[in-house]
């Protein structure tokens, strides 16, 4: 029985974190209103719904706000429980999914930023090497968790797919703008195949930003900001 209450997602199209609840809602076939926020001019609703961080994404269910992308994904999984499960059912598999999702946020995204921020070849090479070390761990994790299927979640997209897959466009843009190759067939064949499967999944493809559009935004807005922040340290 579907729980009552309208669903809104406050977000912005380039944000990988915003993709996460949208994919989860799509997987569960839940209708929602997407409210595009302008980070330079935050709405009253956003400030009221997330007073602690004032950040997107925010899910508003009825009139109750839920904040922090992975907290929102778990909430969606637990509320709309008659649909496909996002977290696995076995507690050990759940712990593994949570572990690797945390790893991606703690290590992979910051390392990507280091690649972007590096202003000389040595620093860039070091950051790329670190990133690739992380990828080889994730390749192993994918093999273990997928048990021969396409996704970390097995036959269907799961928690770890959502947590990691949301960064795909940003990784692509980093490769182009920083002129590096991060993913390759020989080192991480399963991840390369997974990128394609994830990106073309019906719950994902309409909310994944187009590489060209994202690249403009990255080059003009985000990457200069990342470099400025690194230079200020």
């Amino acid at each position: 029985m579907a729980p009552q209450g309208e669903v809104k997602v406050l977000g912005a199209w380039p944000s990988p974190f915003v993709m996460r609840p949208r994919i989860a809602l799509n997987l569960k076939s839940v209708e929602y209103e997407f409210v595009e926020e302008n980070p330079g001019n935050k709405s009253e609703l956003l400030l009221k719904s997330n007073p602690v961080y004032k950040k997107i994404p925010v899910l508003i269910h009825g009139d109750k706000p839920v904040c922090e992308s992975l907290v929102i994904v778990q909430y969606i999984d637990e509320v709309w429980k008659d649909s496909t499960s996002i977290l696995p059912s076995d507690p050990y598999d759940r712990a593994m999914a949570r572990f690797w999702a945390a790893y991606v946020d703690d290590k992979m995204f910051p390392t990507m930023r280091e690649i972007v921020a590096a202003n000389e070849d040595e620093a860039k090479a070091a950051a790329v090497a670190l990133f690739k070390e992380g990828l080889s761990l994730l390749e192993e994790a994918l093999v273990k968790m997928s048990k021969g299927k396409k996704f970390f979640g097995g036959d269907e997209i799961g928690y770890m797919d959502i947590a990691f897959g949301c960064y795909i466009s940003w990784f692509k843009v980093t490769e182009i703008v920083s002129n590096v190759k991060l993913f390759d067939e020989s080192a991480t064949p399963h991840l390369v195949a997974w990128i394609h499967s994830f990106s073309s999944h019906p719950a994902v493809k309409d909310v994944m930003p187009e590489t060209d559009k994202l690249m403009e935004f990255a080059k003009n807005v985000v990457f200069p900001r990342i470099r400025a922040a690194a230079a200020a340290k």
Partner: protein
């Protein structure tokens, strides 16, 4: 899956290992505690069980390792389903609990580090003031989620109590070592009472190290180590 052998790799002073112990005690789970020797270098078992981060705590259930303290606490809650629930049952309450646990993870340890490694009085006072802003937010969260009861979890210790309360011993150390008040009647009256309620809880009181022992440890080992790796921006 048989609830077999349970081992916890930890270090006695670690608030992160304490989180796991409190969860195990709450559920009355029998476990073997294996102390990692901080000065002796990491054990083979630790390196094998947590190859990615090489850190404590690690829970070994049967021979399967679970890493990252809050992930372990959730695992414990989901495996040992008898005994008090650590996470609430309602999905919205669970989301709120997870939010505040993530907030604690984000803010508390870095704030404590800033206070402990501050190079002069002014910097320390600033670090304490910043931390108190964090505590005011947690005070508000406490009032909302406790609904008049002694813990974030209500009548019983819950997820946020464990996540945040694990630092309670260290809060006492900071207050004693630097002669500062972190919690006070004026700005955080509920948290002031909560710290002592948490430390007195049966699942906590026998495993929390004494303030004096932690203070010794801080002076002789932790602070010199922290200062050696403290980033220049502090």
């Amino acid at each position: 899956m048989a609830k077999g052998d349970v081992k916890l790799l930890g270090t006695w002073a670690s608030p992160f290992a304490l989180r796991v112990e409190v969860a195990l005690k709450l559920k009355s789970v029998d476990y073997e505690y294996l102390e990692e020797n901080l000065r002796g270098g990491k054990s083979e078992l630790l390196l094998k069980s947590n190859p990615v981060h090489k850190k404590v705590p690690v829970l070994l259930h049967g021979d399967r390792p679970v890493c990252e303290s809050l992930i372990i606490v959730q695992y414990i809650d989901e495996v040992w389903t008898y005994g008090p629930s650590i996470l609430p049952s309602d999905p919205y309450d669970r989301a709120i609990a997870r939010f505040w646990a993530a907030f604690v993870e984000d803010k508390v340890y870095p704030s404590m580090r800033a206070i402990m490694t501050a190079s002069h009085e002014e910097a320390r006072a600033e670090a304490v003031a910043k931390f108190k802003e964090v505590l005011v937010l947690l005070e508000d969260a406490f009032v909302k989620s406790s609904k008049g009861k002694p813990f974030f979890g209500g009548d019983e210790v819950g997820y946020v109590d464990i996540a945040f309360g694990a630092f309670a011993g260290w809060f006492k150390v900071i207050e004693k070592a630097f002669n500062v008040e972190l919690f006070d009647e004026a700005t955080t009256p509920n948290l002031l009472a909560w710290v002592d309620a948490f430390l007195a809880h049966p699942a906590v009181k026998d495993i929390t190290p004494s303030t004096d022992k932690l203070l010794e440890f801080a002076k002789n080992f932790l602070l010199p180590t922290m200062k050696a790796v403290a980033p220049a921006s502090q």
